[in-house]
Amino acid sequence: MEIIETAAGSAAMGAATEAVDVLSPLRRQDRPARLGASAARRRYADVRELIASPANPTPLVRLNRVVPPGAEAFLKLEWMNPFGSIKDRTARYLLEGMRERGELDGRELVEATSGNTGIALAALAALEGIPLTVTIPSGVPEEKLVLLRMLGATVMPTPDDLCPVDNPRDGAIALARAVAESPAHGGRYAMPNQYANPDNVRAHYETTGPEIWEQTEGRVRTFVAGYGTCGTITGVGKFLKERDPSIRVVAVEPQRNHRLPGLKNLQEAKAPAILDRTVIDDVVRVDDGPAYAMAKRLFREEGLIVGPSTGAIAHAIASLGAAGGLAVGVSPDGGHKYASFYADYLGEEGQPR
């Protein structure tokens, strides 16, 4: 409760109780200082301090029921990041790099994203007063578009068949580049370009990779992540291979025309420029069916409210069995943003008859 001392009140009180100053313990100068940040109390001065780093890693949680008996497998819960996904790390590194190179001065941002990078960029950009435009490929749930708009971003949904001539699957990337480079915009837009920006890889080489190494006390034998922008698989893969070249790095690739936002089938989409295939030992194909089935099992058997791409990654981990030693998979984001996708998947299940 705020005690406001008025001149009249103080005078009246002084007159009534001259000997004892009853208000003295509550006088402004005696009150404790305003609450500052305290890591021990998990109290932060700014939400950005919550973005994961080796000093504040995202949790590793063991899978106990969806993997074969004897398997030692963990998911790294990237949705514990403040803006809800692994892309918080990427967005922070992308913006810091651009700021250091002087690319942000007085400019707006434009980026192609399936949503999570956009959400993290939108939150960070909003805190700094930088306008953001995002181009979004088809197949991204409505929930993400609404979150982006809540954060103040301008959203450009990009149909797959936008380019009527060559019809590439990467229309959103082409559109973002056109926004950034069109002469009519006079260089007003800066594009982080997570698909080609080495800062995306560096985010995972400097944070996600070291965290996994520390959290497993150097015992990790297998690392599993999806093909997406390929920042995670390249950055973590590179870090772990430098620690121990015998660590197996497994990439998960979805089917063509999949429903797993954030993942990319590299036959239908261009391989991102930052992908370094030399750090990848195996590629596991996971179709939508098994990915969604595993997501449902993670909800029900592990209590993990994950997005569909985590289903694909956990399915790959389970298929590796127990022989490969300690396995760590990335859980890129949580399940809340995919309510509409899961509703389609469930159909009538769970509805009263």
Binding site: P159, P164, A174, S182, A184
Partner: protein, 92 residues
Amino acid sequence: MTDHVAQLNITEDAPPAADLELDCKGLLCPLPVYRTSQALNRLGAGQVLRVECTDPGSLADFPALARQRGLTLLSATERNGVQVFHLRKETD
């Protein structure tokens, strides 16, 4: 460039009146197609959109867009590096 127009078998005279005009000069592909698609959503059946572009890719994009979206490309001309297209929306 005029070869393109000839291939399309479109006359260059008497440009039709437009219900909506869109300036896509200085915009790179695929922005003109994107903005045209957005603008078409604001038009009704029978209405005409006039688009000005400067990206050379537009000469291939707009005939393809017309086929894809069931539009009639009434005219396609180029003068001084500016392409002008008239598109009629046939159905809502």
